[in-house]
Symmetry: C2
Subunit: 325 residues, 2 copies
């Protein structure tokens, strides 16, 4: 299977590495809106200007879109789904139905498969939420994120005057996690489920008390959470907070029996050194499924919820049944 | 959707309870090879003799087979897949390819869908193994079972002369579990992953030392494991070991990055008060998928690896995308 990458940031680089570990896939090129001559991928794969993409419609089986959800993917995915089978990682949960509609129209009209909102949340976590609620209908599910770096919250802190750099960790509240695991099915606000830990490099002479207040009172991002702010040096930020770890869990607890006398817990946990590299691994596995679905004549917009697990694996159905079932 | 149950032991009863929690399903009957007059289901659903099943081919959308893997399902599933869309929980891992072939022939020839080996292992655990290996190809996966009651091992102890009753718990070795979670990818034999805890009621005057030796040296079942034997009274067995709890986990650890510099862990855990009732919940969710696949014209034998998650849920694709993705 021949795949290409569109957009070469952390996620695009992760896809480059992930494809190199898949024996049934070949990376035919990286497409960028920057100057291709300025990009030197470690794999040595050719880099092309994004506007040359139309030359590659025959050479690429699946195009993996590595743009951002805020400004790139809402127009990028519908546009490219008219020319390629594509996978994206659109993760603005509230806007998924609108994104789906736009992509579905383009993909259905042009006869392509476009899989959107792929990654771990939305993505693998969505799959587990659906699975958990289907097998334990009398129950409740919970999603916790972290401990991990939230890029959006880190960016929000960086926009505060006097802030040079920042890293924000989302951290699950241990007592909330334990109550959920015990099957108590508590009602929890987002702020009761997570705390926010901020590591901030302030500019020389900046008013740290004001910065801390600006962070803690920021609506949506921090005001509803217990937030701690640590001022650190640029060196310490680089030394201790350079990685992009993340993770989290989906927990479904529920009852069975004629009178609900038996309790059950289903839990799915991720602990990730590199959020973009793991996300890339998910995109690449689903790109395989997109390639297979396209060969079966499937068209239109799909999500991880429409993909049978066997389509993710390089193994044949016979091998899967003999060794993995 | 109209479903029926074939076989009314612990699993069949669990299916009866599970269907009652699904708003889009109706249980039309229980079929038994015993005397129907002797069975009084708590749901009040009619009980029929198994040989009347042919009268119900139009009335039943999906038949859920609740026989045992050792002697029932190898002939039951192929025979009934010739007349109904069926789901079974065949769990003898080594014999799955042969069972698949027999069921596929019957189902394909008669135009039915037959989903085999459904439950949590094989079943949900299989799905996670496939998912984990697809997204983290450079890694290793581990399945641990327990702490929970193994029916097969309990039965094996009961066959020893002088044993009145017994309950055997399979227990993961904590240090093995921790090494796996740390990403050490250790080589582990089954005996290094699990210990076996036996609670035995001996007959009056029986030679307990001989019974203990017979258990600990039993090939395949106990000889390769660290096994502990506790002799207890009939009353204590009933009081403390009447339930059928089980559980376990699938852990995939792996590396990403150009040189494998980042580590990741994916883990799926189940903690179940009642093994048969949870398994029944899985069967019922997959029965929904079988019903939908049959309406789309799918035929032949399938496994959980062939089912898209959306087909398990009573929610519409639009609802799933808006609320679960």
């Amino acid at each position: 299977m021949k795949v290409a990458i569109y957009g070469y940031g952390n996620l695009g680089r992760g896809v480059e590495y992930a494809v190199s570990r898949q024996e049934d896939m070949e990376l035919v090129g990286i497409f960028t809106r920057r100057d291709p001559a300025a990009i030197h991928p470690v794999s040595g794969v050719p880099v092309y200007a994004a506007d040359r993409l139309d030359e590659f419609t025959e050479a690429v089986d699946v195009l993996i879109l590595c743009g951002g959800s805020a400004t790139d993917l809402p127009h990028m995915t519908p546009a490219l789904a008219g020319k390629f089978h594509v996978v994206d990682s659109f993760d603005t949960h509230a806007d998924i139905p609108a994104h789906f509609a736009a992509v579905d129209k383009a993909a259905a009209e042009s006869g392509h498969v476009a899989l959107i909102s792929c990654g771990w949340d939305p993505g693998l976590f969505s799959l587990i939420r659906v699975l958990g609620s289907a097998v334990l209908p009398d129950g409740a599910d919970y999603t916790f994120w972290g401990r991990g770096v939230s890029q959006g919250h880190s960016d929000a802190i960086r926009r505060i005057p006097g802030v040079v750099d920042a890293r924000q960790y989302t951290v699950p509240v241990p007592s909330a996690l334990e109550a959920v695991r015990r099957g108590e099915a508590p009602d929890l606000t987002v702020g009761q489920k997570h705390t926010r830990e901020c590591y901030v490099v302030a500019a020389e002479g900046a008013d740290k008390a004001r910065i801390e207040r600006d962070i803690k009172t920021m609506p949506n991002y921090f005001a509803d959470y217990e937030t701690t702010v640590h001022f650190i040096s640029e060196e310490e930020l680089q030394r201790n907070h350079a990685g992009i770890p993340h993770g989290g869990c989906v927990i479904r607890t529920g009852k069975t029996g004629w009178q609900g006398e038996n309790k059950h817990r289903l839990e799915f946990d991720l602990t990730l050194d590199s959020n973009p590299e793991f996300t890339a691994g998910v995109l690449v596995a689903y790109a395989r499924a997109v390639g297979r679905m396209s060969r079966r004549g499937v068209t239109g917009c799909k999500t991880v919820l429409d993909v049978a697990p066997a389509d993710l694996s390089p193994l044949s159905p016979e091998e899967l049944r003999a060794h993995m079932l």
